[in-house]
Symmetry: C2
Subunit: 376 residues, 2 copies
């Protein structure tokens, strides 16, 4: 805060469309979208301070606008550096987070915001890694959780969510699940986690960049899957904040990865394209209409990055490469390495040497699927 007179800056939220501002503890933010127009909110007026203390996610509390209070064992993942065809790859083992994915970090911050608003229950609409992470964070926080899933979600995933004590609500489709989730949140005065666009969820993911900075510094490039875009934006903002504090001198080139079938970010950055082939495998990046699309496109352009499309064959080959390196991950995690293999010559020619690849989700949950894919 500015104590020397002048305007006192306080962190708040601003709508990315209508520009209205809201305080962080505005009760209407139990659905963390603009209360006026429904669009995505962004955090403004941050005053981050670099004062890492303790371990895991909470080590970076001073860099975050709200103090994490709902967490247990997230973050502090290993970074494995390896020479590869003239580059140094920095593999960030996000799949070793407690529920098996990076979503644990976002969930911890989102539920810390829920706690600030005084609610005691949360709603989320994902049957995948986000659903599991939210169910887990709610459990350790003593909050009730309701997870809305499409009726045809795999039984195994539903059971894992129930194991963590969450209630399950079924909807007809994925879209129906999303609208039911925000409706339920308002009706029951619960917090809608909304991992697709919740600015606190994304802020939790900044901690990946902070850890990498302490472990190895700032990479020349980041290659990350872009589904909702939270991971991609969180990492980019983390490095940007380090630069704004004078701690880092460069910003990494941000390279996003999508599948050949569903690629809204590619279209937004490079112009519409019809790509051939299938990309069923990387289900974590099959998000047709991500709320953070324009932010994602801006980050790609400003960092002189690009969007790479990958297909199932390329993902499978990269997945085998990761398993051979001892990284037991789910197929979505392999999309980043698949993309790297397509542009490696170009990266080298542009002077890129250090490349960060977040490995997003654990393969231990889907061992049977991996075995089938890789023909073991």
């Amino acid at each position: 805060m500015n104590l020397m007179g002048g305007t006192v800056i306080m962190p708040s939220l601003r709508c990315t469309k209508c520009g209205h501002e809201f305080s962080l503890d505005d009760a209407r933010l139990i659905v963390p979208r603009c209360p006026r127009c429904g669009e995505v909110l962004e955090i403004i007026g941050e005053e981050p301070v670099w004062r890492p203390r303790g371990s895991g996610l909470a080590r970076y509390s001073s860099m975050l606008v709200i103090k994490p209070v709902m967490y247990r064992g997230e973050g502090g993942t290993q970074l494995v550096v390896e020479e590869y065809r003239g580059l140094r790859l920095w593999f960030k083992l996000e799949y070793t987070n407690p529920s098996g994915s990076f979503k644990d970090r976002g969930s911890a911050l989102a539920l810390s915001h829920a706690s600030m608003l005084g609610v005691s229950c949360v709603v989320e609409d994902s049957s995948g890694n986000a659903g599991l992470a939210v169910a887990r964070t709610a459990r350790i926080s003593g909050m009730e959780a309701l997870i809305v899933v499409p009726r045809d979600a795999p039984e195994g995933k539903k059971r894992a969510i129930r194991l963590l004590g969450a209630g399950l609500v079924e909807a007809e489709t994925r879209a129906a699940a999303a609208s039911l989730a925000s409706k339920l949140a308002r009706e029951k005065n619960c917090y809608y986690v909304y991992h697709l666009g919740n600015p606190f969820f994304i802020q939790g993911l900044e901690t990946i960049a902070y850890e990498v900075y302490e472990q190895e510094g700032v990479p020349d490039a980041v290659i990350a899957p872009f589904g909702s875009g939270g991971l991609f934006l969180g990492i980019a903002r983390g490095f940007e904040k380090l630069r704004s504090l004078g701690l880092a001198r460069k910003q990494p080139v941000m390279i996003a990865v999508q599948g050949v079938e569903v690629h809204p970010l590619y279209d937004a950055v490079h112009g519409s394209v019809v790509a051939s082939g299938s990309s069923q495998l990387a289900d974590g990046i099959r998000v047709p209409d991500p709320p953070l699309l324009s932010q994602g496109a801006r980050v790609v352009k400003e960092s002189r990055g690009r969007v790479i499309l990958v297909n199932d064959e390329e993902i499978t080959r990269a997945l085998q490469g990761l398993v051979d390196r001892g990284f037991i991950v789910e197929p979505t995690s392999a999309s980043a390495l698949a993309a790297l293999d397509k542009i490696i010559d170009e990266l080298r020619e542009n002077g890129v040497r250090d490349v960060l690849l977040p490995l997003t989700g654990s393969g231990l949950k889907v061992l049977d699927e991996l075995v089938k894919l890789l023909g073991a």
Copy 2:
């Protein structure tokens, strides 16, 4: 090394039964048991130096007799501290290791020894966490791995081992698998990992104690499952070495946990007992004749510890308690908390406050089993 004259001490291996000594690189140690009498070997003449550098397992190279060379992403697990009925519990999240268990640490050191002996293939006889860890370490080291499993091992576990590129050999029983493994090792000039008694495997597990020391200090007590005893002994020796260097002033009381059905350590320490009830769940501690039994008994006695027996009901209740805390672990991991609940009053009365509980294996591999057990 002693440079001031007198005997130069070099680390070597000594048989715990016949007392013969062997150099670390003795070619016969591809089966790391006494070449003369077949008994367990122990490392002697260590000169550990406290000089932590870097991250993960290799951070503690200066404390180990051989430098880890076969590793990728092991260790550096989070420690979660929590108040519980007047105690402070230190949960060590070993289940977040890359293959989902603490065995990754032991495997890394054992295969580093194999590499010192110049062999390029390894044999192991476990279809559980050790088999998976060894297959993974071999894969990242470019070594061939043969895993010998009992014919009736679960298909899922066999597939996971194949996924990591290991060859599978089937034997009639678990005992037959063990003798076939050491036979194959000699025939093919491969290294027998022998996690039940390999002194290097155990030394890798010392790194758990070193991390805990840096994270929170030395606990008053450790409660750990005792199957083969490697985890239990590794932690105890790690803390003992810290004390011998003057870094720690106390040694934790070492409390071992076994099931009511199979409890050789209990018998060795407290005298033979017939306990009622079943303990099928904690399959990680069902080892009827562990080679490290007498070492385990000595550590329990010298530290004024004891052995606690737990049954399936107690394990299930503790497992629910762990899941409620957000720790998605396998049943064996819950045996330590089950034991704690049985002796908590006594611990408090004896002035114990800080208790380390290693959480050994991931539940993500066995989600269906957890759901069935906990009725989710």
